[in-house]
Point group: C2
Chain length 422, copies 2
Amino acid sequence: MPHPNDPTLRSFIDVDATSDFPIQNLPYGVFSSNGRASRVGVAIGDHVLDLCELEQAGRLDVGDPGVFARPTLNAFMALGPTVWSRTRARISELLRHDHPELRDNSELRARALLSMADVKLHLPFQVAGYTDFYSSKEHAANVGVMFRGKDNALQPNWLHMPIGYNGRASTVVVSGTKVRRPRGQLKPPGAEVPSFGPCKRLDFELEMGFVVGQPSKMGEMLTEKQAAEMIFGFMILNDWSARDIQQWEYVPLGPFQAKAFATSISPWIVTREALEPFRMHGPAQNPAPLPYLKQHLPNNYDMQLDVSLRAAGMNEAMRICRTNFKYMYWSSVQQLMHHASSGCAMNIGDILGSGTISGPDKNSRGSLLEISWNGTEPVELPGGAKRTFLEDGDSLVMRGWCQGDGYRVGFGEVEGTILPAE
Amino acid sequence: MPHPNDPTLRSFIDVDATSDFPIQNLPYGVFSSNGRASRVGVAIGDHVLDLCELEQAGRLDVGDPGVFARPTLNAFMALGPTVWSRTRARISELLRHDHPELRDNSELRARALLSMADVKLHLPFQVAGYTDFYSSKEHAANVGVMFRGKDNALQPNWLHMPIGYNGRASTVVVSGTKVRRPRGQLKPPGAEVPSFGPCKRLDFELEMGFVVGQPSKMGEMLTEKQAAEMIFGFMILNDWSARDIQQWEYVPLGPFQAKAFATSISPWIVTREALEPFRMHGPAQNPAPLPYLKQHLPNNYDMQLDVSLRAAGMNEAMRICRTNFKYMYWSSVQQLMHHASSGCAMNIGDILGSGTISGPDKNSRGSLLEISWNGTEPVELPGGAKRTFLEDGDSLVMRGWCQGDGYRVGFGEVEGTILPAE
């Protein structure tokens, strides 16, 4: 049987070369349709393959009946990497153009293949914990230059470990969820005392996130191999940020309410296996990481990312950032090894966010803070509007994909529209 | 029927005046015994009352059959404050010396009343999120003086809001769980580069925690009344801290691996209702809190707290701290109002930690960092041993209670013993 990543594979379902969801991808999500309960599906072209229906028809057996009838991927993730891989291979087989089992069963196809337009996508897993890193050197340096000047741009610890903090898991939402402008304490320059009100410097952060699919025990460290095998898959993540709330609150314990109001993720979890063909080495790390952070394999990914803004009142979106996940200084595997290094237990459903992904160029900056250089260089939009930060009614879309030869392994999008503070 | 807080109430079970668990308390926990599955109980004197047995015997009906047969309190908490209050009143009635229903039913007593010595206590609820505050002015000032000098002791934001950060929920453990000394990156003064190894400055932090028993919605703020009614109960919390890991990692995103390896809580959740008689106003707040943080009711508690250390090789513990929860500058209710103020959703099972509770005196400091004044004033132990920070084999016990007239409403203890790094 050909490997599910084989670039020559074709499905009996027509998939455009620019689709994010060819047969080489097969990302998992949770959907509902026709008033039925949420369940697990896989994206293929413009369709969703209902794994519940396949299982009930006796065409998909992962050894845990009903695992796809649940409203989250957590139980499926708990089955482990061998089952993840076997399941993907079986789904690939069922969708192949030269495999008749589903292709020629019109009754089953009618039940199991739904048009993407007819389903509602949900948060794909129950978020156990959410940790956010800060692993793009370009982003850390941009922010450092803005706030501390060129000579002290990177903090002394930054090159020695993936700096991160615990985020708030309760407000991780799926793409399409509207985001209410947060309120908080603000103390703009010159103000004598803080006031409480709607954030005035609302920003996005373009990130990739990954979800931990296997747990680790309290007190145990992880090898590179163990960490890699715990990663179920990746998603695009928008770490919405209230810059003014953050500025006043973050010393000395870090960002708190400035990041707690919402974090949006893309609905389809692209498996680590599907991204294998796009793995590459990251930037050289100098100084060499301490032994517990050493990696011997390429753990970065050549993944194109872009951000578009449709300002309130505009008909079309304008691209404001184009970058690549490959620029990340610290890899996802290193983030996970560092996270467990103190003995911190990792749980199924933990999200680890990469941190804002900025690249070397001006148009590859992954936040408005950087794009508008702390509000001093507004973005000019078609029709004459300008933006330094996000305004009510603005809609932001992030997309990401790995470009294969004649196909893409993509993520779809993560979209969020800003509602006014109540 | 007398109110369950009535100080004249007596149980048919003998309870010593110095017991933490008189009939005026009735804290909830999760226990197992005789190889049976974990279930919900209430502490009374030296006994545990098995709520499962009471329910099955038709003596306790909270409208959700089987809610006490679960291994966590989450489902019971979900029933809300009216049910919490009614349930406590009914349990109080069943335990009263002048109520025959359980007292005179020897068969039910034999099944439902277990000796505390015969049960194993478990983590009482599934921890959804763990947020740690920093709300003792004395603690913040002590740390500030040590690291920034007397004139800059408090950060500019500290008097304006309860400063906090997201902690790590996956390593919250119940009293009695051994704590492995964490490893991490260390860069002691004078070192050119960091190294990785066992923490050398392992500390405790004496805190109170409370558990959120009712959720709030994303995007919604809380009034003082709403916040108070969401609090199910309180526990003692030891926020184990690796001072050397923290020192190197915490700028600019706050404590991360330095606090991620373990957080210990006491096994009995003392309800907010049981603590009502001990409510009092906290210290005057100057400047006046912004309107969203204003409180009109007394939200502090007169609760005595102490910490004892039994160093490795010592037979008895020595008290090293005696303080009171009443000193907290920001109340639990204010912490919760602030937490939700950005629109952050709160979940059933969220823990909010008070932050280290230090008092005005030298012997009321709630961490070894303060007690040993950053390692410069070692604690002298019986037998000649000294401690600046915790050593392998050391055991730490925290206790807390509110003193009534002839009875105590107490928490039991939270104990943890340090295992060597592997």
